[in-house]
């Protein structure tokens, strides 16, 4: 009897009087630790930049490395300011930036749209994907950047060949991701919505597209980089305006600082685009669970 009563009687735990106090101080300590880590992180990042750029500057100043070939950070900075203030021999530097940006954005939009549509279509149609599969592999194996030469010959030195080259480069990145995204749709979810009575169109809208979106958006980050590369290479091959032309001219003038200045401007643009894409990604994929690394153990 005593055994049963002992077994059934609930044992009350010790009243944790200071539980909330302990919690509060742990939160405080955690916040402090996190702040300290953040300071350390930025300090280390700054130190790294100083080490690389400072080292470059130092070695070129001491003529250990020849600034005539490799440029010099201070020279690059001066050249960049100069480009913005005085423009190039073809006009304002802003026109060049705007042209390159226009080509990249158009190419990106065109390539991404085509990639998404075709990726979704082929991902859903097994027969079609098996028919076209080998050809897509072949075209993917071709060094597509060379197509730029053909486009310049065919479409002149306006923005059309650059847009097309960008689009071709972007297309394959987005296409393969959209295609894979469709293939990765959860079988159970698909069966479930079909049983619930979804039409083909409803399946695409409610299941396939949102599911593939994770993959597609992941590819857009890389794709924008490719769009810029397409625009620049197109411009190097022949253009009236554009950052690619500025870089090419600087190369012709044996002016490495000018080449680096063009690269600097382009990287800033790409970083801004990356930032915008990340923002869009957060908005569109807000349903995703936070990654486990975001909860830091104290």
């Amino acid at each position: 009897m005593s055994i049963t009563s002992a077994a059934t009687e609930p044992v009350s735990p010790n009243p944790a009087r200071s539980a909330s106090d302990a919690n509060r101080s742990a939160t405080e300590a955690g916040r402090k630790a996190r702040r300290r880590r953040l300071y350390l992180l930025w300090a280390a990042r700054l130190a790294f930049a100083v080490f690389v750029i400072g080292g470059w500057q130092l070695f070129t100043s001491l003529k250990i490395v020849d600034p005539f070939f490799y440029g010099q950070p201070s020279g690059i900075w001066k050249r960049t300011l100069d480009l913005f203030e005085h423009g190039t021999e073809f006009g304002s530097f802003w026109t060049d930036i705007f042209t390159t940006l226009k080509e990249a954005v158009f190419g990106f939009g065109l390539g991404a749209a085509a990639g998404i549509v075709l990726g979704l279509a082929l991902g859903q149609n097994r027969f079609l994907s098996e028919v076209l599969g080998p050809y897509i592999k072949i075209v993917n194996a071709i060094p597509r950047i060379v197509l730029g030469a053909i486009f310049v010959v065919a479409f002149g030195i306006g923005i059309t060949p650059k847009v097309l080259l960008s689009a071709v480069l972007v297309f394959f990145v987005v296409f393969f991701n959209a295609f894979q995204g469709v293939r990765e749709v959860d079988r159970n979810i698909l069966a479930n919505v079909k049983v619930l009575g979804a039409s083909q169109l409803q399946v695409i809208r409610h299941v396939t597209l949102p599911s593939a979106l994770t993959w597609i958006i992941a590819s857009l980050h890389t794709a924008f980089g490719f769009a810029i590369v397409g625009a620049l290479v197109g411009e190097v091959l022949g253009a009236e305006h554009g950052v690619g032309l500025v870089i090419k001219t600087a190369q012709g003038n044996l002016d490495p600082d000018g080449v680096f200045a063009g690269m600097l401007v382009i990287s800033v643009i790409t970083l801004i685009a990356e930032f915008v894409l990340t923002f869009v990604e957060r908005r569109l994929l807000s349903w995703r669970p936070p990654s486990p690394s975001e909860a830091v153990a104290i």
Partner: protein
């Protein structure tokens, strides 16, 4: 608890005595082509009937083709031989008036809880506003009021199951197909979900085809238990469970003498199959 029992004592809804929800499986055979190109018989000559409004459980060892049977009843898959009839009509496409519940919840992670539940009515052409209202109502019925705007990953396993249940029942299906729906839950949550399922089932009275590994679960919930053999799957025996309804909390049925009696009887038949199937897989691995 009391309210649930009162609801259960009410004369059940229309589906109960209409023949439209009878499931007749006759001579069902299913062969697959293995990746090596050989034919593999998953099911051979399976025959059983689920009466309208009946809760029928199918138990059997792993790999006996239970899930295959279910997908042919739903029309997602086609039989190689034999037929499945629902309400007297042969199943050719997706069967009308059925719902499916899987072991892994088939919730769309990018939709909110209410968005998931309202899919059924939306697919059936109900207006967005009415569908949403209906979904909210069903979420109240499964005890999830206040969680409408959460995303599935923010809920516990048991809560996700409730969402799945609401999503499956919102169309008031005549037939409910369940493929080990509670298999991934912990024991306590499982018992609670079983009790809630019984409560909802007693209100709507669809015919249920319930697949499980768990014999206790089968006996506690079902009116009829189909025992299947493995390799190839076929029906070994069919048992009728005469435990009175409403059965109340599942945790407590397990202690009733009649429950144990039936459970032993079916286990005697099932055990042999389980051991055979186990010996086969163990033999392969060794």
């Amino acid at each position: 608890m009391a309210s649930r029992n009162q609801l259960a004592n009410r004369p059940a809804a229309g589906a109960f005595d209409s023949d439209a929800s009878r499931i007749e499986v006759t001579g069902l055979t299913k062969r697959f082509l293995t990746p090596k190109g050989e034919a593999f018989t998953a099911l051979r000559d399976v025959t059983f009937t689920v009466e309208p409004g009946q809760f029928c459980a199918v138990v059997g060892p792993t790999g006996c083709g239970k899930s295959t049977t279910l997908s042919m009843v739903s029309g997602l898959d086609k039989p190689s031989e034999g037929s499945v009839k629902v309400g007297g009509h042969e199943v050719t496409g997706i069967t009308e008036g059925i719902s499916f519940m899987f072991q892994q919840d088939a919730l769309l992670p990018w939709k909110t809880v209410v968005g998931n539940v309202e899919m059924g009515p939306v697919f059936r052409g109900l207006g967005k506003r009415e569908a949403r209202e209906l979904a909210r109502d069903w979420l109240r019925r499964v005890g999830l009021a206040g969680f409408e705007d959460h995303h599935p990953h923010q809920l516990s396993g048991g809560m996700r199951k409730r969402v799945g249940m609401a999503a499956a029942l919102i169309n008031e299906p005549q037939i409910l197909l369940m493929d080990e729906p509670f298999g991934a839950l912990d024991v306590q949550t499982k018992a609670i979900m079983q009790t809630e399922l019984l409560g909802l089932w007693e209100q709507l009275r669809p015919s249920v085809l319930f697949i499980t590994h768990d014999l206790d679960e089968a006996v506690a919930l079902a009116d009829r238990v189909v025992v299947m053999t493995s390799g190839p799957g076929s029906v070994k025996a069919v048992y009728d469970v005469d435990l009175p309804r409403p059965r109340g909390p599942v945790q407590e049925i397990r202690y009733e003498p009649r429950f144990l009696e039936i459970q032993h009887q079916i286990w005697a038949s099932l055990r042999e199959e389980v051991e055979r199937a186990y010996a086969r897989t163990a033999g392969v691995n060794a």
